[in-house]
């Protein structure tokens, strides 16, 4: 799971779309499960007519606007070829494509969250590799490609790169007698800082976990610290080790320490992710994590000089502990049933042309995932520092690398359990159980997962 979507999913518009999604799901009922299947393999796109459909993620208004403009430009640049973009919302991005993939009917180009959500569909035969559709000379410019590689093939294209910075409020640090220029680097320093802040009546950490994203992020930030490689994720997921082993449960022990000490805002379970951001943005908490856009908004609200990024304090000594949390968020691919694969591939390449990269940054304020993007146009110092951090060293958003079903059924509820008094043992048992469900329900995919050479992004 990834990034920019999480920031924008909390907008009023996202809430309404969620409500609409709920209404739709309510009216459809279990019959939808069956209705999404069809044995007809005909393409849902242009059917060779020179017209393709693209299901692009666009929960952010700016991104949707940009896509509309780019699509018009693409049509103008083509000799008759056209791509119809259907903007997908956060809540329906996965479910809509799951239904389309089951029916083998739907878009020619589609988006899913990076890595496992893309590869799970690729392993299920719903995705066409890009290697034969997009020349290497073009793909070589795309960054963060490792997130969607399997079997020596490239399965999806990135669009933008986004980091999840952990930020602190310098003013509140100063108020608590802490050095605003020396934020905590180790776990003990974090605990000491939290203690000092709390003693001053300042909420040390802000989070919103009503929608489970706070807990999922906690896992992504903390669990990576005990891993030496991404392959370390395989044993517990494949049933060869338990999530109760210290290597896989230490994160929960540490996070629970923060929770049990009362270092989080007390209404964490009443707030969704955006609500958690707002606690920090309103100056009521001293530290929080967000996506880049969220951090930039904090800078505007609190004064750029008061907001700074720090690497998440370390407790683990794994080789991945020093990685930064950046990802391409959504990835874009050609569906296996498409009859307009070439047109779809042209569209993906078009999105990476310098003019589009520039307009993407100008409209959406995100860093395009392409080395041809001219970074000199980034003038906001905070944005520049965040972009620099996302382009140096190891970049791992751990949620991307586990099966989406385990993320949904173990990581999300597990984080809520920890935050509402549940034990570490209870949570690790949930992980083990849901990993077992995933393996037994998807033996073929589990086998592919086992064979997968998991390579983190290193820039």
């Amino acid at each position: 799971m990834s990034a920019m979507r999480r920031h924008n999913r909390y907008s009023r518009r996202a809430v309404l779309s969620r409500a609409a999604g709920g209404a739709a799901a309510l009216t459809m009922g279990p019959g939808l499960l069956a209705a999404c299947g069809d044995d007809d393999d005909s393409g849902g796109g242009g059917g060779g007519s020179g017209e393709a459909t693209a299901w692009m993620w666009g929960d952010a208004t700016e991104l949707a606007d940009w896509l509309r403009g780019v699509t018009a430009d693409f049509k103008a640049s083509q000799g008759g070829g056209d791509v119809q973009v259907a903007v997908q919302q956060v809540e329906t991005l996965v479910s809509n494509f799951a239904a389309a993939a089951a029916a083998r009917k739907g878009p020619d180009v589609a988006a899913q969250w990076a890595t496992q959500p893309v590869l799970a569909q690729a392993w299920a035969g719903a995705v066409e590799p890009l290697d034969d559709l997009v020349p290497e000379s073009e793909r070589s410019h795309w960054v963060f490609q490792q997130e969607n590689q399997y079997g020596g093939k490239q399965w999806a294209a990135p669009l933008y790169v986004i980091g999840q910075p952990f930020c602190y409020n310098k003013k509140l640090f100063e108020q608590a007698g802490l050095d605003p220029e020396a934020p905590p680097e180790t776990w003990d320093e974090l605990l000491a800082a939290c203690g000092a802040l709390k003693a001053e009546g300042i909420t040390p950490l802000a989070i919103g976990n009503k929608d489970t994203f706070g807990g999922r992020w906690a896992w992504a930030f903390l669990a990576v610290q005990t891993l030496d490689s991404l392959d370390d994720l395989k044993p517990p997921l494949l049933g060869e080790a338990s999530f109760a082993d210290p290597k896989y449960s230490e994160w929960a022990v540490r996070w629970k320490e923060l929770i049990d000490n009362g270092y989080y805002n007390e209404d964490a379970m009443s707030l969704d992710g955006q609500g958690g951001y707002d606690v920090f943005g309103s100056g009521k908490a001293a530290m929080a994590w967000a996506v880049e856009n969220g951090a930039l908004a904090w800078g505007e609200a609190l004064g750029a000089e008061n907001v700074a990024q720090l690497d998440f304090p370390k407790y683990g000594t794994g080789k991945l502990a020093d990685s930064y949390t950046a990802t391409q968020s959504t990835s874009y691919f050609i569906t296996s049933w498409s009859e307009e694969k070439e047109l779809g591939a042209e569209f993906l390449q078009f999105l990476h042309q310098p003019e589009q990269l520039k307009s993407q940054f100008e409209t959406c304020n995100v860093i395009p995932a392409d080395d041809r993007f001219d970074r000199s146009v980034i003038t906001n110092p905070l944005h520049k520092s965040l972009a620099d951090r996302a382009s140096s060293g190891l970049q791992i958003w751990l949620e991307n690398w586990i099966p989406p079903s385990v993320d949904e059924t173990a990581n999300g509820p597990g984080g809520q359990k920890l935050m509402t008094g549940g034990s570490v043992e209870e949570v690790t048992a949930l992980w083990d159980q849901q990993a077992k469900v995933w393996r037994e329900q998807n033996p073929d995919i589990a086998k592919r997962f086992e064979e997968w050479q998991m390579t983190p992004v290193s820039v």
Binding site: A19, A126, T420, Q441
Partner: protein, 316 residues
């Protein structure tokens, strides 16, 4: 013979019992004529319900429905039942059934009786009480999600009257979340009961109340011996509707208020199916869970029908 049976229908009934050929050839011909007219509706119903049901059952026996390499298996049923979320969800649905339905019946009944024979104002109150029922569930869910938050309107009210100790994170605390959902469902659904009960009460002969008064019955006795017996059938219908709602029609509330959380404290069967099918993309597993829910619901309805029949026999 009931007063609704005409002499002609009485003759027809007698002829049926004597000949065993109700209506004779003409009636049969007439019935045959109706068949072609029924075919479109039957086909539509068959397509709308039959086809999805067959596919649902088919999917439930596949590891990855419609995807190459999918194998026929019963593992989905095993996994579904073994999943702790399954028993949690079932337990929560049953809790809703046991907690919400009696409250709904009592609240609706009391309000319907209180509004009975209150003149013009009763129409206004009945409409006002019915309003929550017509508000869409997502709107209700999102609104109450805000009201029940730790710093929401519910706790603000509690704090403003000096009861700060009672303020809770109603939807964020596993101990209270399901209870909070019950209150929202009751608030939303009781209007239907008031409407059904009021409609039936309007058709009760006033003479019955006059006779009861002449016999010395006071307010309580009048309703106990006149209103309640008259409402029996409507109450049963309301119970059946709400029971079905609690077992298989609460997805909208859960999705918009808690998403099954915190930590699975409010997960219900429909939400579990949605999670398995669409959030986790396990259509086979979701189908198996849906079939189990459907089967359980059919058993429940059958049991209810048997209880009703036994109860009706006992009464008669």
């Amino acid at each position: 013979m009931s007063e609704g049976v005409t002499p002609a229908s009485a003759r027809l009934t007698r002829r049926r019992s004597l000949t065993g050929r109700p209506g004779g050839r003409r009636a049969w011909r007439r019935r045959l004529w109706s068949v072609p007219y029924l075919i479109p509706a039957a086909a539509l119903i068959g397509f709308a319900f039959g086809y999805p049901l067959v596919k649902l059952i088919d999917y439930s026996f596949q590891t990855r429905p419609n995807i190459p390499g999918s194998v026929r298996t019963t593992v989905n049923y095993t996994l579904s039942v073994e999943d702790p979320s399954f028993s949690d969800a079932l337990q929560h649905n049953l809790t809703l059934l046991v907690a919400a339905v009696p409250i709904l019946v009592i609240v609706a009944l009391v309000l319907a009786i209180l509004l009975f024979a209150r003149g013009r104002a009763s129409h206004f109150y009945r409409s006002a009480l019915f309003l929550p029922y017509v508000v869409s569930i997502p709107v209700v869910g999102v609104t109450f999600g805000t009201i029940y938050s730790l710093n929401g309107a519910a706790n603000d009210t509690i704090r403003s009257v000096g009861l700060s100790g009672l303020a809770q994170d109603w939807l964020g605390d596993p101990s209270y979340a399901l209870f909070a959902v019950v209150t929202v469902i009751v608030w939303k659904e009781f209007g239907l009961g008031v409407l059904l009960f009021s409609a039936r009460m309007a058709s009760i002969e006033p003479d019955l109340y006059d006779a009861a008064r002449v016999d010395g019955a006071r307010w309580w006795s009048q309703h106990r011996f006149v209103t309640l017996p008259a409402l029996r059938e409507v109450i049963v219908i309301f119970i059946v509707i709400e029971a079905i709602t609690m077992l298989s029609w609460v997805f909208g509330y859960i999705y918009t208020m808690t998403k099954g959380g915190p930590g699975g404290a409010t997960i219900v069967m429909e939400y579990l199916i949605w999670t398995q099918g669409f959030a986790a993309s396990n259509l086979g597993l979701a189908s198996a869970t849906a079939v189990l829910l459907l089967g359980g619901l059919l058993v429940f309805l059958l049991a209810l029908a048997i209880v009703r029949r036994v109860f009706a026999k006992g009464v008669s």
